[in-house]
């Protein structure tokens, strides 16, 4: 057996629950989530809308507190955003600083690190901007970019921090369909190249299957992990070829049946 499987999980959520409000008006968003993220994997979390996927991710990032249960990263309990975990926000337009140029928005991820000068921060940010194909837009302001380009900037910024875990909250949900496909390919390439652990929250079955090694399926509120699917599709995955594979179609059928509540 692989040694890694026996070792404590890299990022582990045990018995995590979240209740909003109190008394008669309280809502139990997360029931009892058990989730062990493996080092280096690409994990997708899917579930019906309103099942608390984003809340779950925020708790894993240390940006929100769980009502019950614990989150451990590297065996240490997470109570505030830990170094090494970066959260990519769904609202890309609101997560960029409008007063900073594109380059300085990326530099925000590194400029405060020890031993980092302004020039060094900019030089390293430029590399990441090139990686997402926005090298020519370094001097632009976010408002001058399209939605898809803005989301690329936030991806470059997240990677510039050299995270060990990248948590993505429906990062492609508000860009147009073609841009979304381009961003899928970009994220797959960057993940393969940089070797970080990726956790993606999405409600899009195709997105989850195309990108992930494993897919955790959440139930409706109060949510629990009801299934864990191994995709087992070969990499690199291709936008045109991969969706034609029998395994892809089988996964898609299974996942949609669960999401639509028609599973046997």
């Amino acid at each position: 057996m692989d040694a890694r499987v026996n070792s404590p999980a890299y990022l582990a959520l045990s018995g995590v629950g979240k209740t909003f409000g109190s008394g008669a008006g309280q809502t139990e968003a997360l029931g009892e989530i058990e989730l062990a993220v493996r080092e280096g994997e690409f994990l997708a979390i899917v579930g019906p809308s309103g099942c608390g996927k984003s809340t779950l991710l925020q708790i894993a990032a240390g940006l929100a507190q769980a009502t019950r249960g614990t989150v451990q990263f590297h065996g240490e309990e997470v109570t505030a955003p830990p170094p090494g975990i970066v959260y990519l926000f769904q609202q890309y337009g609101r997560s960029l600083f409008p007063w900073r140029t594109v380059l300085d928005n990326v530099a925000f991820a590194v400029e405060h690190l020890p031993g980092m000068s302004r020039a060094k921060a900019r030089a390293s940010s430029r590399l990441y901007l090139d990686m997402v194909g926005l090298g020519d837009f370094a001097g632009h302001y976010p408002a001058q970019l399209s939605g898809g380009m803005q989301q690329r900037v936030t991806i470059a910024r997240a990677l510039a921090a050299q995270p060990r875990v990248l948590l993505m909250d429906e990062p492609f949900s508000s860009v147009d369909a073609l841009t979304r496909l381009e961003l899928h390919a970009l994220v797959q390439d960057l993940w393969r190249k940089h070797g970080f652990t990726a956790v993606l929250v999405t409600h899009d079955a195709d997105e989850a299957i195309f990108l992930a090694d494993r897919i955790a399926v959440l139930s409706a509120r109060p949510s629990r992990v009801v299934r864990m699917l191994e995709t087992g599709l070969p990499r690199p995955r291709d936008r045109l070829e991969t969706p034609l594979m029998p395994r892809y179609l089988e996964l898609r059928h299974e996942l949609l049946a669960m999401l639509l509540g028609k599973a046997p």
């Binding site: 609101r94 409008p98 925000f108």
Partner: protein, 260 residues
């Protein structure tokens, strides 16, 4: 909107200044024809001549310098204190709860009313005037800063947290720039208030400066000189606002781009 031809647009942009010119000419006519007592309202041409003399003789600089000194020092003190306290009040609930009633009681008080009591404590010198003007500047900037800080997008705050920025960096790099458009709007209002208060303070307790000069000239019946200095004050107010708007536009160019 109907289509406006370029020539028509040019005509429209001259309309406002044209009205001003016509009014000045009418005043000139009225004073020369004797419809208005020229002792109380001298003809604009006479005021213009005196104004020209004041500027070319260099006697404009001393009073203007004094007024500007009070204005700049008091404005800077008022703005710095208001922004500092505004960030704290906007960001930390207990501080807001502690100070908000005090602010709400002091804010609506017309600041010239503070001049007589301040004179008792601080005398008639610069300290009193700077204190009074700073107080006038303080409140509009404070109120806008609190609002601006409260309006910071929580997503931007979370971005600072996920990238491990310190709390001080969060204030300096995220909260303050986000609040800047509202802070600057408050500062623009405060600039007008500051000029009014400097002039009033100089009139009530002055030994120099434009405000003192205007009331002194009126008391010694040098009416033409008095009007010349009123015009200087009007130009100063206009110029200050113009400079401020230009700086503001540069500082928050991103804000307009975002709204559009």
């Amino acid at each position: 909107m109907s289509a406006v031809t370029p020539s028509r647009k040019r005509l429209q942009s001259w309309l406002g200044p044209g009205v001003l010119l016509v009014l000045v000419l009418l005043l000139e006519l009225a004073t020369r024809a004797g419809w208005i007592n020229p002792v109380l309202v001298p003809p604009p041409s006479a005021v213009a001549q005196r104004l020209f003399a004041v500027v070319t003789a260099g006697s404009i600089f001393e009073p203007l310098g004094r007024t500007m000194y009070l204005l700049v020092v008091a404005y800077a003190i008022g703005c710095v204190l208001a922004i500092g306290l505004g960030v704290l009040m906007g960001r930390f609930r207990p501080i807001h709860g502690l100070l908000e009633p005090l602010v709400e009681v002091l804010r609506p008080l017309p600041k010239p009313a503070l001049l007589p009591p301040l004179m008792l404590f601080l005398g008639l010198g610069d300290t009193m005037k700077i204190t009074a003007v700073s107080l006038g500047v303080f409140f509009p900037v404070l109120i806008n800063t609190i609002q601006g800080v409260r309006g910071v997008d929580p997503v931007l705050v979370e971005v600072a947290r996920t990238f491990q920025h310190s709390r001080a960096a969060l204030l300096w790099k995220v909260v303050l720039p986000s609040a800047m458009p509202l802070v600057l709007a408050g500062m623009r209002i405060a600039l007008g208030i500051a000029l009014v208060l400097v002039v009033v303070a100089e009139m009530m307790a002055g030994s120099g400066g434009i405000g003192y000069l205007i009331i002194d000239l009126q008391r010694s019946f040098r009416i033409v000189d008095m009007y010349a200095w009123v015009v200087i004050l009007a130009v100063l107010g206009y110029a200050l606002n113009e400079v401020f708007v230009r700086i503001e536009r540069r500082a928050i160019h991103w804000s307009g781009a975002r709204a559009g």
